[in-house]
Amino acid sequence: MARPFTPKVLTANHLLDGDVVYLAPGSRLTRKLSEAMLIEDESTAKALLEAAEARSSVLVGPYLADAIRDSDGRPRSTHIRETLRADGPSIDIL
């Protein structure tokens, strides 16, 4: 049985600098997870992913990542990997 759909954000790396980017409202790209659009239905998610895959001159490897809405109403990741992608390395850089 298919798993029920859970909310997602659409994310990818930017072609030029590899930065983590998210789809924000209005087809805008943002580097902040907190500004990303939380996608709450499956058909919208599928359509947005197809559209992102067509933007290959800007986006590399787009995919849908699980997220939830935090108490401020902003998207927040539910997996350590996505948290690190959003926040950057958890260590001091020299």
């Binding site: 790396n13 072609l15 260590i91």
Partner: protein, 565 residues
């Protein structure tokens, strides 16, 4: 040091030119990512979690001051002012922008370096003993052999699309510091009973999801037969290695499924056919290479300054005891510079530190440097009279940590802080263990802790005295511990201790292992590994799982809490 010919220089420049054109076409939309990805990987450019990553080959870990300064320049000009030295003796830059990469490759070409074959299913950068050419126990310098293999394997038309990546390591010493038994091919330089130089050839070793200690395919291969024999092994692997399943495509699986005797027969048969095609050009080449790896012009001078510093300065004594190794010239020492300052990222060096190391190599080290697979930097030839001055300079640059070979000298892969494949973080774990064990690490003595952030085992955890493997358990990091691994000539894979630990319980667990060792060792001369081999898992399991029910499934204790393994 290796020398490029004009042919080499032209070849590398042409590759940069081609890649510049490919990058331009990717940016203007002429190439899709699907089309571009193989090109960027062939030039060492990966896309990681947060950014592109450029992996630069350091041939068998060998550098000089000019090349290291160029790496520092690249770090400042196009990255974030640091580089990460890896377990394959390479350097990785973690933050380049796509459009800058051709310029970086041109800057590398300026000093006869490149990033070719640092990715893909080809023969990767050949690795070697980081004490090569200097070690007191060395039979022969492995670097000329590594260079010959590098020249033979670079852009080799038959071996550019192997079933899977292929790694070769060479050592010239009986004490194996190059992990030869965990490589696709390991070469140990040996003398035959008649005194003839040759190689013990080991095949089918490897770590990753299926760790295997390599098997001896030839006990003594004459020196002149090396390239045809390597070519025979690669040919057989290329022909019968599996391409249907990525996880069964490494030669270790081919050897296991074929059987070492049947695999050897096929290799020997191929070797007989192709040996006669090698008419001696390879032997002419290696003679020329050997000339470029001549011994340095050793200085003859008193060593009293070293002995004085030993008497006067306890900090220098710690450094000399741990970080200075026996050189074949008794007036010299091999200085290992730790890139494992407590609380820092293993293997990272700032551009400033790279320049300090380059200056020291030039002033005191016959202009030679090595990168070790243990992610440290080696000054292989330092006169003992100069070692106190070198230590002082290193200390000023944050490079004087006297912990080589101790618990905080940890191998750690980049883990989930950088790597797109990782399932857990490695660097914070290494950092926290190093800080936690700092007070007891001198009592503990030799202890190799190795950490991988996923099953691919870039951190060599299987061959750590204590190995740590980070996994993802339902979106939460969890760490498995293995014990008793060994990367040397007595190579062994570690035994899994039992269920994994959540991140916040791991560091205390590692401390319990160290304290248990101190409690149960027979005397101070018995190392952690020797104690483990004497006692087996049981006392260490008891320390790891004090509340466990003894002997769960598979001989592992079962934890009384809800931890998942």
């Amino acid at each position: 040091m290796y020398l490029y010919s004009e042919f080499d220089r032209t070849y590398v420049r042409n590759r940069v030119r081609m890649f510049r054109d490919q990058v331009d076409r990717r940016i203007d939309g002429s190439l899709s990512e699907e089309e571009f990805k193989p090109f960027r990987l062939m030039n060492g450019l990966y896309l990681q979690l947060h950014a592109y990553m450029l992996r630069v080959a350091i041939p068998y870990g060998t550098l000089d001051s000019r090349r290291l300064r160029q790496l520092a320049f690249i770090a400042d000009r196009w990255d974030r002012g640091y580089g990460h030295f890896t377990t394959r003796q390479n350097i990785q830059f973690n933050w380049p922008r796509l459009k800058d990469v051709p310029d970086i490759l041109d800057a590398l070409a300026d000093v006869d370096m490149h990033a070719i074959q640092t990715s893909g299913n080809c023969i990767r950068n050949v690795t070697a003993d980081h004490f090569a050419g200097a070690a007191a126990d060395e039979l022969s310098d492995p670097r000329p052999v590594a260079e010959l293999i590098r020249q033979w394997s670079t852009d080799h038309p038959e071996f550019t699309f192997l079933p899977r990546k292929f790694k070769i390591a060479v050592t010239g010493s009986p004490n194996d510091r190059a992990v030869t038994r965990a490589h696709d091919i390991g070469l140990r330089m040996v003398h035959s009973k008649e005194g003839q130089n040759g190689f013990e050839v080991i095949v089918g070793g490897g770590l990753g999801r299926t760790p295997v200690i390599g098997k001896v395919i030839r006990e003594h291969l004459p020196e002149a037969d090396l390239l045809p024999y390597l070519e025979a092994i690669l040919h057989v692997y290329n022909a019968i290695g599996r391409r249907d399943n990525k996880y069964k495509a490494r030669i270790k699986i081919t050897v296991r499924e074929t059987g070492i005797d049947a695999f050897r027969s096929r290799v020997e048969e191929r070797f007989r056919i192709i040996r006669k095609e090698f008419l001696g050009a390879d032997q002419q080449v290696i003679r020329r290479i050997r000339d470029t790896f001549a011994e340095p012009d050793y200085v003859q001078a008193p060593t009293a300054a070293f002995d004085d510093a030993l008497r006067r300065d306890p900090a220098f004594r710690d450094f000399a005891n741990g970080n200075v190794h026996r050189h074949k010239n008794p007036d010299y020492g091999i200085v290992s510079v730790s890139l494992k300052a407590h609380g820092r990222t293993p293997g990272d060096a700032s551009s400033k530190q790279m320049r300090i190391l380059a200056d020291l190599a030039e002033a005191y080290g016959h202009d030679e440097l090595r990168i070790s697979h243990e992610q440290n930097v080696i000054l292989p030839h330092v006169h003992r009279k100069d070692i106190p001055a070198v230590f002082a300079e290193l200390s000023r640059g944050g490079l004087g940590t006297p912990n080589v070979g101790l618990a905080s000298d940890i191998i750690a892969c980049p883990g989930m802080d950088y790597c797109a494949l990782a399932t857990a973080r490695s660097i914070p774990v290494a950092r926290d263990i190093a800080v936690r064990l700092r007070e007891i690490e001198r009592d503990v003595g030799s202890l190799k802790i190795k950490i991988s952030g996923c099953i691919n085992a870039c951190g060599h955890h299987h061959v750590g005295h204590i190995g740590i493997l980070g996994l993802d358990r339902a979106g939460v990091e969890n760490y498995q511990i293995t014990l008793g691994g060994d990367a040397t000539e007595t190579a062994a894979l570690g035994d899994r201790a039992g269920p994994g630990f959540p991140a916040d319980e791991l560091v205390p667990a590692i401390e319990r292992l160290a304290l248990t060792y101190l409690d149960i060792r027979e005397d101070q001369d018995e190392s952690f590994l020797e104690t483990y081999r004497r006692t087996g898992l049981a006392p260490f399991q008891a320390a790891l799982y004090p509340d466990a029910v003894p002997k769960g499934r598979g001989g592992h204790p079962e934890r009384s809490n809800d931890a998942v393994s």
